[in-house]
């Protein structure tokens, strides 16, 4: 039976023996792709799932594509990485990170759906994958190079010509190979897609990420540090293969429908449309572009690129928070807007080159500044640091800080293993109570959407493995707030908005708009628990396994359509429609949610083995002990709420705190709905077996960590 949508093989890399083997994808088909596929592979190949530090040699990392990569499904071109992470607190969970670009698409054309990375090489290696031919190379000469240099040198070593004035690259080793139909590897114009670590990964830091091309980084979770611990510098993939799809006609038709119905007309666009998938290709950077000489730059298959490549030679392909991690300090020294932009984009480049996660800077940089101001951090201080703090705000300081964090120098020596760990070591645990150190969950910084306000974000993060970074519902806030800020009429009124979204929250919250009430009275309710469940399951399958991009999906509402309904769950361009057209499956939208539930339960089983218990599922103390104040982030924080008369309004929800006791009740409610033991948060046998995971239940039972059934 044809395995539509899949390359059909999974590559296993045994770094210890420097051996590559293949396994068939078919066995794992029911897990979809991406994260689901990764969790199933991790479960099978990680022999010690109790590990809490990603540097343990038993750790297994999976880099996975999706059947949708490279098949023109709109904005489904990303790749997923899973494994036990690094630098989190108190444990580094089995977790995930994602990155864009062209790696997933090219991996599949090279013949593989995923790569399983096991063991540890005795010395640095990089892996060369060409049309299922796998070669391990000595990476000693690459060790110590930044991510761009590493990729360029690998291209040079492979004989890949630079620039774009290049021809076809024949992948055959000889003319004879090309002439033989049985061996002809074919030609490509593409350059190999490379995933690599920089110094931050080589030095096994918790901030170490995996970088692809100029600006795609799987940054959160420390997987770069894990690769560094395995002496794995890079993986390069190139291929000339093809992916069979079940219904190419349906694919092409759905893409046309999407463009005509859901996307703003290119000729007369609605620049202020309320939609995710229907936006024009607007650069998603926190600083203005340094020039108007740039193109939008997109991941493969994306319907609206969010990055850029500039003429100025810096800042290319980098977007969002990375472009502004140094915003606050740079404002102190910049003399002009142009200088401010250049400092920030070059600081972004430094982070990409070192391959380091810049999320620490959202709140961590302010914390460091606080310590300097307090007089406890600096030359000769209690926390010694010889960084040039007098040049704070300059590009020079930014680069030195990135270097220190990446190379375990200066304060980087302590911060490399985790920021919250460093805070404890430095005797600064109190900062987690006051909020000076706003790291809200699992040793990770507050993303900006405070758990006390945007509850589905905070709950999803603390009940899972990391800051979720999933803007599914967050778009509500930005649409409403922007309209409010401009004193413009709301494009969609609150009651209609929640109604449209609730139509799509199938099955748990279908047509239950009350789950979208962000008001104080509702924030610990079973309603919100159902919302969080839906969110976890939707993202586990559709966004992390099928790999629909967070920036463009879900498209709940869309003012480009006559009825304001978005593409999500629609019959003509919904997530399941694309999946079925590619794979030949006959999934309903709800079926995808159920697959996500299965994946989520497998993940919880892994966390349970790692040591998860509800007693450690808690936010940082400041979330409970302080209030989210007006003006702290934005002067107003508008979300849909029901007023005292039960009418839907958009209301400012600033000023809240999280009640610890009520959060405990919320956890109980959530666990009960998920079919987990409410005393521990562990999955039960009934729940696992109901998902076809009997073997998982057996493993938990043998470990003494199987959830008790509800009486």
């Amino acid at each position: 039976m044809a395995l539509y949508g899949y390359a059909g093989k999974i590559l296993r890399l045994d770094l210890t023996a420097q051996r590559a083997t293949e396994i068939d994808t078919a066995k794992y088909r029911s897990w979809g792709g991406g994260h689901g596929l990764g969790s199933a592979l991790f479960w099978e190949f990680c022999k010690d799932k109790t590990i809490k530090d990603g540097r343990n040699p038993a750790n297994v990392i999976v880099v996975a594509s999706s059947p949708l990569n490279g098949t023109l499904v709109p904005s489904a071109g990303r790749s997923e990485v899973v494994g036990v992470g690094l630098g989190m607190y108190p444990y580094s969970w089995y977790t995930r990170s994602g990155f864009g670009g062209r790696f997933g698409t090219m991996l599949r054309q090279a013949g593989f759906d995923a790569i399983v990375i096991e063991g540890r090489a005795s010395s640095p290696v990089w892996v060369d994958v060409r049309n299922r031919k796998v070669v391990f190379h000595d990476a000693s000469a690459l060790w110590g190079t930044d991510t761009q240099t590493a990729q360029e040198r690998i291209w040079a070593q492979m004989g890949v010509p630079r620039g774009t004035d290049t021809g076809w690259w024949d992948l055959n080793a000889s003319a004879a190979e090309a002439l033989d139909p049985a061996t002809d590897q074919g030609r490509t114009t593409q350059k190999p897609a490379i995933l690599t670590i920089g110094q931050a990964g080589e030095n096994q830091t918790g901030g170490g990420g995996l970088v692809h091309d100029a600006g795609n980084i799987a940054a959160v979770a420390g997987f770069g540090g894990v690769w560094g611990s395995k002496n794995l510098k890079a993986i390069s993939v190139i291929g000339t293969g093809e992916i069979p799809v079940a219904d190419a006609k349906a694919l092409l038709r759905a893409r046309q429908v999407t463009k005509e119905k859901y996307v703003s007309d290119l000729q007369q666009p609605d620049f202020a449309a309320w939609t995710k998938i229907g936006k024009q290709p607007k650069l998603m950077a926190m600083v203005p572009p340094p020039t108007d000489e740039f193109r939008p730059q997109a991941c493969q298959g994306c319907i609206s690129g969010c990055r850029a490549r500039y003429s100025v030679g810096y800042g290319s392909e980098t977007k969002c928070q990375v472009t502004s991690w140094y915003f606050a300090p740079s404002r102190r020294v910049a003399k002009s807007s142009q200088e401010l932009i250049e400092i920030n984009l070059r600081a972004a480049d430094a982070a990409q080159r070192y391959g380091i996660n810049t999320y620490f800077a959202i709140t961590g940089l302010h914390w460091l500044e606080h310590l300097v101001e307090e007089g406890v951090l600096g030359p000769g201080k209690a926390i010694p640091s010889n960084l040039p703090w007098d040049k704070y705000g300059t590009l020079e300081f930014a680069e030195k800080l990135i270097h220190a964090l990446s190379c375990r120098e200066d304060i980087g020596a302590d911060l490399a293993d985790g920021w919250v760990q460093a805070a404890h070591k430095w005797g600064r645990a109190e900062d987690l109570r006051t909020g000076h150190m706003a790291f809200s969950y699992w040793g990770q910084p507050d993303h900006g959407y405070d758990p006390r306000a945007e509850v589905e974000w905070g709950y999803g993060s603390i009940l899972g493995d990391r800051d979720i970074c999933e803007h599914c519902f967050n778009i509500i806030f930005t649409n409403i707030t922007s309209s409010f800020a401009f004193a413009q009429p709301m494009r969609i009124q609150a009651k209609d908005l929640v109604g449209i979204i609730a139509e799509k929250l199938s099955p748990y919250a279908k047509n239950r708009p009350e789950v979208l009430d962000y008001g104080d009275e509702n924030m610990y309710s079973e309603n919100v628990a159902q919302l969080v469940r839906w969110h976890r399951h939707y993202t586990r399958f559709y966004k992390q396994s099928a790999l629909y991009c967070d920036l463009r999906w879900p498209d709940f509402y869309n003012t480009n359509t006559p009825d304001n309904r978005g593409a999500t769950a629609s019959d003509d361009a919904g997530e399941h429609v694309w999946w079925n057209a590619v794979t030949g499956d006959t999934l309903s939208f709800d079926d995808g949610i159920e697959i996500g539930r299965r994946i989520w339960n497998l993940d919880n089983a892994i966390w349970t083995l790692q040591g998860r218990h509800r007693d450690i599922v808690h936010f940082a103390p400041y979330i409970y002990e302080t209030h989210f104040e007006k003006g702290e982030l934005f002067p107003f924080y508008m979300w849909p709420c029901r007023d005292e008369q039960g009418q839907w309004v958009y209301r400012d929800i600033m000023g809240r705190t999280m009640d610890r006791r009520k959060f405990e009740e919320f956890k109980t409610s959530f666990y009960r709905l998920e079919g987990w033991d409410t005393a521990s948060g562990w999955p039960t046998r009934a729940t696992l077996e109901g998902l076809g995971l009997r073997e998982v239940a057996d493993t938990l039972e043998a470990a003494g960590r199987l959830g008790k059934e509800r009486a």
Partner: protein, 226 residues
Amino acid sequence: MAQDPARSEGASRRAFLAASAATGCAVFAGPGVLLADGRFVIPNSAGFLVVDTKKCQGCGTCMMACSLAHTGRASYTLSRIQVLQDSFARWPDDLALAQCRQCQNAPCVEVCPTGANHADAKFGHVRRIDQSLCIGCKSCVAACPFTPDRVQWDHGGRKAQKCDLCAETPYLDAPGGPDGVQACVRVCPVGAIAFVREMPDQTREDSYQANLRDWVWKRLGMTMEK
């Protein structure tokens, strides 16, 4: 990197035509005419693709759409339009689009020994390779003067293929060809590919570059300059 063995001179058909022309005859060579002065002339294509490489977002959707529309499979190697990128280069030199130019005096048509590669009168004289006649000699691949050459080698099917302006696209639910839809034009999210009727200047390599950026582009923060 292995040399492409197909890059060799000579096609017996060309030699025959040249010899015949030397007798002072204008030889009708199937779909083309070899004039006495040596020029090989075929009817012009009724349409051409022009591209704006400063506008392209490098998403590769055109490549996916092309291979899917023609073969039902997603493959960059089988795409008849190619997008080449260098992630570390500066705009505008970081990206190139390589579409078939439907050349007026198409060398790939001229060299084909079987007439598989021909100006198809049924589809506005688009230069198209009839797969049933292609013997996989790769002469057309070698003959294309552009880099990358605009003829693709299907290493699985052992045939050459090229852009036919979607004349033969069994997976597109609309008629293709010069009078119909081109999958790449239709699918491009930013409108970086356009179909035109007027033949671009055949003496200039850059004549297939167009400025397709407008006020919307400028409003999005990007230059409209040529």
